[in-house]
Amino acid sequence: MAFDYEQYLRPGKLPHIWCPGCGHGIVMKGLLRAIDTCGLEKNNTAIVSGIGCASRLPGYVDFNTLHTAHGRAAAFATGIKMAKPEMDVLVVGGDGDGVAIGGNHFIHACRRNIDMTYVLLNNYIYGMTGGQFSPCTPTWAKASTTPYGNPDPIFDVPKLAIGAGATFVARTTAFHATQIDKLIAAGLRHKGMAVIEVLDDCPTAYGRRNKFRSVVDMMKRLKEIAVPVKAAAHMTPEQLEGKVLTGILHQEERPEYCEQYQQVIARAQGA
C-alpha cells in the first residue's frame, strides 16, 4: 500500500517553496516515513530548523515545529530537549545553516550527546540566497561568490560529527530514497545525538553553474559517488577517490546528556 503522507502534512500549506527538481522534498518524504516507522506521536515531537530552503521543511509537517534563526536550530532544540526530555526532538536544515553559521552549535550538540536526531540536507550550496558557496561546496566548484572557482576546502559532515562526539552518524543521498527513512529511523531509535547527512541537489543555485544539464544528471552523480561502507572496506584508496561513504558510519553508546543531568538533579537533591 502506498504510504499516506497526507496524514503528516499540514492541510493548506502546500505548495512548498522548493524548485522543481530540488532534493529537499525527497528528504522530507523519507523523514515522514521514518517518523511513521518509529511511531512518533505528533504532539510529542518537535521539529526544529534554522533558515534556508531546507529549513522550510517544518512548516509543511504537522508536529510542534520551530523555524528559528539561521544556524541556531540545534541550540533551540537543546533547550526544548533539556526542558522536556520526554519529547522527541529533530533538527533539519541545510549545509550552510548547520556547519557554517551553526557550526558551533552543531559540534556542541554532538559533544553533549543530547538525544536528538539531526537531519542535515547537504546540497553543497547556499540555495536560498541564490548560490553562494558553503563549507560543503567542493573545491573549485562554481558559486555566485566564487566566480573563479572555490578555493576553500570542504567540511566532511560525518567526520565533523564523529570528531565532535555524535554517537550515531550516517550518510545517504537523495538518490537512495529508501535508505533515507531507514537511516533516519535508526537515528531516531538511537539514544543520543544522531546525525544523518543526506546529500541532495540544488539544480537552481548549484546545478546550473556547475554544468549539470539536468536534475537527472545531478541524481546520476549522487548515485555514482555513493559507496556503502561495507563495500568500501574492500576497495583501494584509488577506487575510493571522489566517492563518499554511505550507510551507518559510526555508532557507539555513551551517556546521554539529559540523563547525565538527571544525575545532577539527584546529586543536588542529596540522593
Binding site: 505528533k42 504532539n43 510542534n64 533547550g79 526542558a83 552549535h105
Partner: protein
C-alpha cells in the same frame, strides 16, 4: 514569624528572585560581571528539578531559553556587554515569535570588551534598540539588592503577561554589592503564570488576536501543536507577506506596550512635590542621587529625585508633568548621555536639562550631583 534574611550580592538576589518567580530553566555563558547569576542558578535549579545549561556561546544560551520557554518553562539568561550584543539576534526572535523570557544584563563598560570589571549604564539604548526592526521593549533597572530580587520577579511576570523578552539592567556595582535582603514568603510578591490556551487544539492559533493583543501561548508537548517562525506571520503562526497582515502584526506588537503603560511603568519619587530641581536617576546612580538630594535639601535647595524603575517603556507622561514644575532637570548616568535623550524628548525641553556622564569606571558621586545642581540653578 521572622522573615529569612541574608547578606546577598545583587547578582545572587537576582537569581533568588528568578527562583521565587518559578524560573525552571537557565541557559548561560559566563561573563564578568554577571557570572554569579549563573553560579547560583547552577546550584539551586537542580534542587527544584529545574535545568541549568551552560551553552557554547551567548547566542546559544539565548536560543536554549527560547526553546525551553516554548515547552512552558519560565526561562532566564544572564550576561553582560559583549554577551548581550551576541544575544540581540534572538532577542529579536523572542519579540517577533512572542516568547516570554528574562534577560539579565549586568552592565559593564564598552563597547566591545571595554571594561569587564568596570560599572556602566551604557546599554540603556541597546535595551530598547539593540535588535533590528521595530519591536516592543521592557527593561527594568532596580537599585538595591532587595529591589533586584523583587524586580526580577516582576520581570518574569511582565514577560509572561506580555509574551515577550524582558530585560533586567543591573550594573557592576549593584550586581556585586552586598546588602541585607529579606526573603519574601511565597505569596508576598505577585507571581504571574502563563496564560493557558482554552480553545480546542484544532482551533488554536498562536497569534490569534481576536480576543486581545496578547494571545495565549500553548506549550510544545501539550495537546496543542503549532508552528513558530521568525518571519512575519499570520494569526496561525505561518509566514505571510500580505501587507495588511504584516502591518497589523507589527502594530499589535508595539501596542502590547503602549496600551499597557500604566501596568508596566514603575517609578519612585523622592521629595518631588515642591522640587525645583529634579534629578532623574536610575539603578545604582539613583543611590548617589538620593544622597545628593538630602544634602541639597539641608542647604535649603529644593531638590527631588525621580527614579524610573521601568526604563522601557520610559515613563513619558509623568516625566513631562514633572518637567512642568521644575526649574531644571539633572540626569546623572554612567554613560555619555542615553536616558537624557528620552528626558529631553518627552519634556520638550521646557526647562534646562543637564546631564552628568561618567565612563571612567567610577560611579557618579553625590558631590558631583550636588555641584551640578548648584550650577544649573
Amino acid at each position: 514569624m521572622a522573615k529569612k534574611v541574608a547578606l546577598l550580592q545583587g547578582n545572587e538576589a537576582c537569581a533568588y528572585g528568578a527562583l521565587y518567580a518559578g524560573c525552571s530553566f537557565f541557559g548561560g555563558y559566563p561573563i564578568t560581571p554577571s557570572t554569579e547569576v549563573a553560579e547560583v542558578m547552577s546550584k539551586e535549579l537542580p534542587k527544584t528539578g529545574g535545568k541549568f545549561i551552560q551553552m557554547e556561546d551567548e547566542i546559544a544560551a539565548m536560543a536554549s531559553i527560547l526553546g525551553a520557554s516554548l515547552t512552558g518553562a519560565k526561562a532566564l539568561t544572564a550576561s553582560s556587554g559583549p554577551g548581550i550584543s551576541l544575544k540581540q539576534e534572538l532577542i529579536g526572535y523572542a519579540c517577533i515569535a512572542e516568547i516570554p523570557c528574562v534577560i539579565v544584563n549586568v552592565m559593564r563598560g564598552g563597547p566591545s570588551t571595554g571594561m569587564p570589571t568596570g560599572p556602566s549604564q551604557s546599554d540603556v539604548m541597546q535595551a530598547k534598540w539593540g535588535t533590528h526592526g521595530d519591536h516592543p521593549a521592557i527593561a527594568l533597572a532596580p537599585a538595591s539588592c532587595q529591589e533586584i530580587f523583587s524586580e526580577t520577579v516582576r520581570a518574569f511576570n511582565l514577560a509572561e503577561i506580555y509574551r515577550m523578552p524582558v530585560q533586567v539592567l543591573l550594573d557592576e556595582i549593584n550586581g556585586h554589592m552586598r546588602e541585607r535582603i529579606e526573603f519574601p514568603e511565597p505569596g508576598d510578591l505577585e507571581v504571574v503564570d502563563r496564560q493557558q490556551a482554552t480553545v480546542s487544539p484544532a482551533d488554536y492559533k498562536p497569534f490569534d488576536d481576536s480576543q486581545g493583543d496578547i494571545p495565549p501561548l500553548a506549550s510544545f508537548g501539550s495537546e496543542y501543536r503549532y508552528h513558530v517562525t521568525g518571519l512575519n506571520k499570520a494569526a496561525d503562526g505561518f509566514p505571510t507577506s500580505k501587507p495588511e497582515l504584516v502591518d497589523a502584526e507589527q502594530r499589535r506588537q508595539l501596542r502590547k506596550i503602549e496600551a499597557n503603560r500604566a501596568a508596566i511603568e514603575k517609578n519612585e519619587e523622592y521629595l518631588i512635590d515642591d522640587a525645583e530641581v529634579i534629578v532623574v536617576a536610575y539603578g545604582t546612580i539613583s543611590r548617589s542621587a538620593r544622597y545628593a538630594v538630602d544634602v541639597l535639601r539641608k542647604e535649603g535647595i529644593k531638590a527631588g529625585l525621580f527614579r524610573p524603575i521601568t526604563l522601557w517603556p520610559f515613563p513619558e507622561q509623568r516625566m513631562a508633568e514633572l518637567a512642568g514644575q521644575a526649574k531644571a532637570i539633572v540626569v546623572p548616568e554612567m554613560n555619555l548621555g542615553q536616558l537624557i535623550l528620552e528626558v529631553e524628548r518627552v519634556t520638550r525641553r521646557v526647562c534646562p536639562i543637564e546631564g552628568i556622564g561618567r565612563v571612567d569606571g567610577e560611579p557618579i558621586t553625590p558631590a558631583q550631583i550636588v555641584a551640578k545642581v548648584k550650577e544649573v540653578l
